[in-house]
């Protein structure tokens, strides 16, 4: 027995040494879904993050050290997302993280940020709760649904919307969107009818769609991710359901919708946060073109850029914070996030205070665009 004990100890010591020996790098934890329901989107975000990291390292790294991404899979599962955060903080000693794609995943991670006082940049989630619950370690670059609704407000009367039904995911993301958009629409004098929900993994939504077909609304607002949207558009066509459709949430991936739903997607409208189809209309056309060129050079599908740009901007924002902090330590980085100010691929990235006084979260205000699928292409609708 003593022999085995010595061997185990030796291995443990060696491991500890290996972990501790990376003082020459600045590490950023990346907590994304690489398997499970959101595997495709999480992988896009990670690939975007890698482009940013390589770009930064090519320019000489951060604080004179190499930037290293510690990428972990949260398996599209909130419990796993919290466990991954704990592992990144305690075992990998990452002073700052990016994650965790979905709202339910991010919300599950947030208590860990409070426990360990480590900041996280939220790149994709859109539930309002994330930046209003009083967690000062959260800095978000994606728009919460209230902000999305606010940007969409001026277009409501131009589209001639009279009565709207909602079909949303039965989770923080979907129900949050229905609440925020519903509030905005009522203020605009638009009637809100049904709010139907669907499970995240559901493949057959014909029951919900049959109900929506029977309602007297003119528009259906849908909040879900791309795979389910493809199914919805196909099933709407099969049911002969022809109403104006506007999707929200920023995870629609219009190129995949066009490729997979075909003519069933014609005329659908989508609120997105990035315009890769029209780089000249983005806030920083040159950066957009460079990013898209690098993305294509790496052999990734163009369809992925609507997700991956967030990973790219997220890592760039964290890098700005680390540079401003002057050291790779959680408290200094959390403080430095407040002075980050640069133009991302979808608008300025600078954090405004959000949530209860004294423990505000940071919320950036990206651009939101309404696009339409017409003749199998993405266009800006004429309003």
């Amino acid at each position: 027995m003593p022999g085995r004990f010595t061997l185990t100890t030796a291995i443990l010591l060696a491991l500890a040494a290996a972990t501790g020996a990376r003082a020459d790098t600045v590490r950023i934890g990346v907590n994304e879904p690489l398997t499970g329901a959101f595997a495709a989107s999480g992988t896009y975000v990670v690939n975007g993050a890698k482009i940013a990291a390589d770009e930064i390292n090519a320019r000489g790294g951060l604080l004179g050290k190499t930037l290293e991404l510690v990428i972990e899979d949260n398996k599209s599962n909130p419990t796993e997302a919290a466990a991954v955060a704990e592992k990144l903080i305690t075992s990998d000693k990452t002073p700052v993280m990016m994650g965790a794609w979905g709202s339910s995943l991010t919300l599950a991670v947030m208590p860990k940020l409070m426990d360990y006082e480590v900041p996280m940049l939220v790149e994709t989630s859109s539930s309002g709760k994330i930046t209003t619950s009083g967690n000062p370690y959260v800095f978000r670059i994606s728009p919460p649904s209230a902000l999305e609704a606010e940007t969409f407000a001026p277009m409501v009367s131009k589209l001639g919307m009279k009565k709207v039904d909602f079909l949303v995911l039965n989770n923080d993301f979907g129900r949050g969107a229905a609440t925020d958009f519903g509030k905005m629409l009522k203020e605009k004098g638009v009637q809100v009818g049904l709010t139907e929900t669907m499970d995240q993994g559901a493949q057959d939504m014909s029951a919900q769609l049959a109900k929506l077909k029977g309602s007297d609304s003119d528009t259906i607002m849908i909040t879900s991710a791309v795979d389910q949207l493809v199914l919805l558009f196909k099933q709407m066509a099969a049911l002969g359901l022809k109403k104006r459709v506007i999707t929200t949430g920023g995870s629609q991936n219009p190129d995949q919708i066009i490729a997979q739903a075909g003519s069933a997607a014609e005329g659908t409208m989508h609120l997105t946060t990035f315009l890769p189809w029209l780089p000249e209309k983005t806030p920083d056309p040159k950066a957009t073109e460079t990013f898209i060129a690098e993305w294509k050079k790496r052999g990734f599908q163009f369809a992925g850029v609507t997700e991956s740009f967030r990973g790219y901007d997220g890592i760039r924002a964290i890098a700005h914070a680390i540079e401003k902090a002057g050291k790779a330590e959680p408290a200094a980085i959390a403080k430095a996030f407040w002075s980050v100010d640069f133009t991302g691929l979808n608008g300025p990235i600078r954090f405004a205070k959000s949530g209860p006084a004294g423990k505000e979260s940071g919320q950036s205000k990206p651009d939101v665009y309404l696009i339409e699928i017409k003749d199998g292409r993405v266009v800006l609708p004429t309003l």
Binding site: T35, A37, A39, S41, D199, S206, A207, D227, V230, L239
Partner: protein, 290 residues
Amino acid sequence: MDQLIQHLVNTLILGGTYALLGIGLTLIFGIMNVVNFTHGALYTVGAYLTYLAVAALGLDLFLALPVAILGGLLLGALIEIVLLRPLRGQDIDTTMLVMIGAGIVLQSGTLWIFGGVAKAVPSPFPEAPLQIGPASVSWLRLFVLGAALLLIGLTYALINRTKLGLAMRATFQDADTAALMGVNVRVIYTATFAMGSALAAAAGALLGPVYVVHPQMGGPAELKAFAIVILGGLGNVTGAAIGGFILALAEELGAGYISSGYRDAMGFLIIIAVLLYRPTGLFAKAERVG
């Protein structure tokens, strides 16, 4: 009223799908008594085989279906020979754990090979739906219903009308006696598992073009298959088929008239009620195989 008709048409279409999922599992879970956690993964594999056959080989959807079914048959036989045969006689927990592992391997394998981005299988049917009064239904889904009913009929006939079916029923009732009567028990075990797997692959192959194909598609399908089998009575092919339609009806009407948020709960509420009052399933007494 129009909405009710649409809900009932949807029930018929969805029920056919559920019934197909249920009968494959009832063979394995009900007759063989193996808690099969690879059913959903085999459903996924069937869908990916169709995708490969249509997208990569350029086959017609009608030709891709037999390819997927054959693939399911072979993979099922392989799982039985490699994993289940050495475990025969072990307790149910051991087998269950091995099947959970096999399910994870298959699911991660499809993710590894095909990636997480969902694939679409093109449909040879017109996109404009068929109008039946106030209700509409897609041609593709009508075809799926027809194919599902055909497969259910064939399975029923095979179990109840052929010598192979007789040997299967005899084996799982009493393997020793069946062996004494000249039944090659090992072959029957493999054949039954392979057949159940082929039905799972067939369900995936039929539904791939209806939905989209992705590595996680098997999870919810598997859960529903277990529910249907329990609802219909273990090992009862007719019961599983009817159970599929009952689950579809409960989901449609539950989502349409009570709350769509509890759509998936409706089916399980019915199952709890059935198990409380008829613990062996709705149709177990009258027609239980064996």
